[in-house]
């Protein structure tokens, strides 16, 4: 089991990380040119109105006052109201709507990466220097090198335009709208915001199929990158493991090759792969920004880009902090899994 001391130590480390991120994003935003008041009021407004609004929003306060206000609010998980992108709405509620969309996409992408990357890596290692290995390595290198803004449209072209198998955009059929809650034993419960999960909770199989089909291409786009990295890591890790004495001993004792690889090799080879998966989650969130844009998915990635363009300070701050929190939590979970797989790490 993971020790409490280890867990508490890792949790405490989150505080300086988040404080650093909060400070960094605040400084960057306020150093960059742009005035939210002008964006809110638009080109039609007079400069006098813009100055009035700056005062109203507290943007004419000294920077340190604004910074302290931001930190105090953020500590209470209050990021204020969105200035422009989701005008008047609490940033918290924007995050609650948009974040599950991105997380769902990133999880599916990671899933595809793990699903295909692990077997591909094992096969490449076991059949080292074979045609399969070479093809796998070429594929992996290509997957790492191809940018999402190219692979996304290519997948659309192939699977949507030419083959007509998958839709080009969105998360669910344009005419399918889900209710805002589901029922369990007569109780009304909120939905998760993850469309594949929600359609299952609602028992709407047609909608679930539609959602799965819509999510396949964007998840595959993200997954290609993940797959490439995981298969490369799995291959090199497995190559090391198969040369270990205990593997030879198992084979010498008469155990079949497949069993030896899966039972003794896989678990040990997985440790570095798990690390990569955690570190990669941040990359996946970043990749989701581009993927969401290409596939018309309104997740937190596209919202962040919009917020940056619109100088929506509060929304940018809230979103970046949330990304940082998510990233650190996923890494925490990875560390826990890692130490679980290899208890020596806790020492």
């Amino acid at each position: 089991m993971v020790s409490n001391r280890f867990l508490i130590k890792r949790l405490l480390l989150l505080v300086p990380v988040l404080l650093g991120v909060a400070t960094f994003v605040f400084i960057i935003l306020h150093l960059a040119p742009g005035d939210p008041a002008r964006v809110i009021l638009g080109q039609r407004a007079s400069q006098a109105r813009v100055l009035e609004l700056r005062e109203e929003l507290g943007l004419d306060d000294p920077l340190w006052v604004q910074y302290l206000r931001f930190l105090l609010d953020a500590a209470q998980f209050d990021f204020g109201q969105s200035y422009t992108v989701a005008r008047g709405q609490a940033v918290r509620s924007v995050l609650a709507t948009r974040l599950p969309v991105t997380i769902e996409l990133a999880l599916y992408g990671q899933f595809i990466g793990l699903l295909l990357g692990i077997p591909l890596g094992i096969i490449s290692a076991v059949k080292q220097d074979s045609v399969v290995d070479h093809l796998g390595r070429i594929g992996a290198l290509s997957g790492i090198s191809i940018p999402i803004y190219w692979s996304g449209p290519m997948l659309i072209l192939l699977f949507s335009t030419f083959l007509g198998i998958f839709p080009a955009s969105g998360r669910i059929g344009s005419t399918i709208f889900l209710p805002d809650h589901w029922s369990l034993f007569g109780m009304e419960l909120p939905l998760t915001g993850m469309v594949t999960v929600d359609t299952l909770l609602l028992g709407d199989i047609g909608a679930f199929i539609s959602a799965s089909r819509h999510l396949f291409l964007p998840a595959a786009t993200i997954g290609i990158y993940s797959l490439a990295l995981i298969s490369r890591m799995m291959r090199s890790s497995m190559l090391e493991v198969v040369r270990q004495d205990y593997m030879r001993t198992a084979r010498a004792k008469g155990q079949g090759a497949r069993i030896t690889i899966l039972k003794h090799g896989l678990r040990n080879a997985l440790i570095p792969v798990v690390t990569v998966v955690g570190i990669q989650f941040g990359t996946l969130l970043g990749g989701a920004v581009l993927t969401e844009t290409v596939f018309g998915i309104g997740g937190i990635g596209t919202t962040l880009v919009e917020a940056i363009n619109a100088t929506d300070y509060t929304l940018v701050q809230g979103t970046v902090l949330m990304f940082a929190l998510l990233f650190t939590l996923v890494n925490l979970a990875v560390d826990m899994t890692y130490s679980y797989l290899d208890p020596r790490i806790q020492q």
């Binding site: 809110i40 080109q43 422009t84 699903l115 969105g170 998915i297």
Partner: protein
């Protein structure tokens, strides 16, 4: 230890099982979801705001939605280029400083309330009257003052269907202001039910209740779409579909593909590549219409002394090859501009021609002005806008043309539009690229708003044709140009109600602007829409102001 070992084994097994389960899930496929057809019209666009209150926005994307839900007292004839027609009022009149409106009887809001003059009064008061209990609050939108605040003194309801608006001064464009999206008539009952205070009133945009052809049913932010149902008691023509969905796909190319696949029926703001995709397809086509907009390069005379010399401005106008810009960079989806007013707006002077590309003449003028080694910064935004589909390429073309006559141009590129507007509206640029879409198709909306300094003629220092940046009363004039002859015409145009007289006034103002060249006049861009073959093409009219008129659209 043994237990830990067991747990780890179980964990690895569970991971394997999850892998197998996920493989089977990922492998399954089904029918293509979505698609239009039947009675559901699907309109796709590139942006999804989350609040649809016509009084809390300056965004055209919000207006696209509120125009489906709300009506205005006066409307634009669909596809006319700005001709006025009845809206909620069947009679409207502007005499002196008094506007009288007679509302149509029997019109109901989506909440069941009947429209009366009290709704008109409550709407205007919510927007601009800080003594009104349900005042929206100061500075919620730049349109508050432009539409009503600068002009309206009082609003009187003389009977259930008669409204009198008393203006602070004579103002010819006011009837057109009543047709703007920001002048949409709200339900007094909804305003009052929301309660007092800016925050409470801010909620209106999440569940707008108008008198328009479509009822706002569901705002699905997670999927960036909105669902509407046809309003059975709509007072005008249509709607011809049962349901409307407005969805968002940010990538132009994906949006074009979505249309080609039949997953949407109409789409807007296509880039050059999206247009090409649609032109190459068998299932969708392009509809185009002259827009009421202008793209230009503005000279900041307050900052750069050389730009105060008309010869320098004219020389640069002659040196920039605007024909090459509209033909090669804008790919023929725009025409060369020759004055601030686009052709569909009254007062456009047909006698004027675009500046011919003449580098020799340009050099001569620069020599006469003593500015042959002029260097300046050209600020530009990066993302395409309707009046300038390729800003960076445009800036590079200008730089190249001007370097050919010996000038030095440094391009200052902004990746986001918000900071760019802040930069240019605070006068930090030497020259900049910008443009304008009309609000109400009135000449004043171009000639006053963009090129009048917003000060009395007497305040312009003698012998000078510009004012200091801080002396301006009009934020949109980013040139600081203050030509008193031009200002005189534009001032007259604001208070002249007789149409032909007004036309002559603005033609003269346009002539002066052309000659004095406070901008390099670049282009008037077309509006481009993609429509799927399942739409009755004749039923959809591209509108250069107002709309989109989706209630008129029929599906085959």
């Amino acid at each position: 230890m043994v237990r830990d070992e067991m747990d780890r084994r179980t964990f690895v097994k569970a991971a394997g099982a999850a892998t197998v389960a996920a493989t089977s899930t990922a492998g399954c496929s089904g029918i293509i979801g979505g698609g239009g057809g039947g009675g559901t019209l699907i309109y796709s666009r590139g942006d999804h705001p989350e609040n649809y209150d016509p009084q809390q926005t300056t965004s055209g994307e919000v207006a696209k939605v509120t125009n489906q839900v709300y009506d205005t007292c006066i409307d634009f004839v669909p596809g006319s280029g700005g001709q006025l027609t009845d809206g909620l009022a069947n009679e409207y009149n502007l005499q002196g400083r008094t506007v009288t409106l007679t509302l149509k009887e029997g019109i109901t809001f989506h909440n069941g309330e009947e429209l009366t003059g009290e709704d008109v009064r409550a709407t205007i008061r919510r927007f601009i009257d800080n003594e009104y209990q349900y005042f929206l609050g100061e500075n919620r939108s730049g349109y508050a003052s432009v539409t009503f605040g600068d002009w309206v003194d009082t609003v009187e309801v003389t009977s259930d269907y008669e409204v009198t608006i008393n203006l602070k001064q004579r103002y010819a464009p006011f009837l057109r202001n009543l047709a703007m999206f920001a002048a949409a008539i709200l339900s007094q009952t909804q305003i009052e039910n929301l309660g007092a205070g800016a925050d409470a009133q801010g909620e209106l945009g999440l569940d707008p209740k108008g008198t328009g052809p479509f009822v706002f049913e569901e705002l699905d932010n997670a999927n960036e779409r909105i669902r509407f149902s046809a309003y059975d008691d709509f007072w005008g023509e249509g709607p011809h579909v049962d349901e409307l969905i407005i969805k968002t796909i940010k990538s132009n190319q994906t949006r074009a593909q979505d249309l080609i696949n039949g997953d949407s029926h109409i789409t807007d703001n296509l880039g050059a590549q999206g247009i090409q995709q649609i032109n190459n397809s068998n299932s969708a086509s392009i509809k185009r219409k002259d827009g009421i907009n202008v793209g230009y390069m503005a000279f900041n005379q307050a900052r750069k002394a050389a730009f105060r010399k008309p010869k320098v401005r004219r020389a640069i106008s002659l040196a920039v090859d605007t024909e090459a810009i509209v033909d090669s960079i804008y790919q023929g989806f725009a025409v060369q501009a020759d004055q601030p007013l686009p052709p569909d707006v009254i007062g456009h002077n047909d006698d004027l021609e675009p500046y011919a590309h003449d580098p020799e003449q340009a050099q001569t003028l620069l020599e006469e002005a003593g500015e042959t080694d002029l260097s300046f910064e050209l600020a530009t935004f990066s993302n395409p806008r309707g009046y300038n589909p390729s800003p960076l390429e445009t800036a590079n073309q200008i730089k190249s043309d001007l370097e050919d006559i010996g000038l030095t141009v440094e391009i200052n590129q902004f990746s986001a539009f918000g900071p760019y507007i802040t930069y240019t509206y605070t006068g930090k640029h030497d020259a900049c690229l910008l443009g304008w879409y009309t609000d109400n198709a009135d000449p004043d909306n171009f000639l006053y708003v963009l090129l009048h300094p917003g000060v009395p003629i007497d305040d312009v220092p003698s012998g000078q044709s510009h004012v200091a940046w801080d002396a301006k009363g009009n934020a949109n004039n980013i040139t600081s140009w203050a030509n008193t002859e031009y200002m005189g015409y534009v001032n007259d145009g604001q208070t002249t109600y007789e149409q032909s007289e007004r036309e002559t006034i603005y033609q003269e103002a346009s002539r002066i602007a052309h000659e004095q060249a406070p901008w390099v006049f670049i282009d008037y861009a077309e509006l481009i829409r993609g429509i799927h073959e399942s739409v009755n093409a004749d039923s959809y009219t591209v509108s250069s102001v107002g709309g989109p008129y989706l209630e008129l659209v029929e599906l085959n």
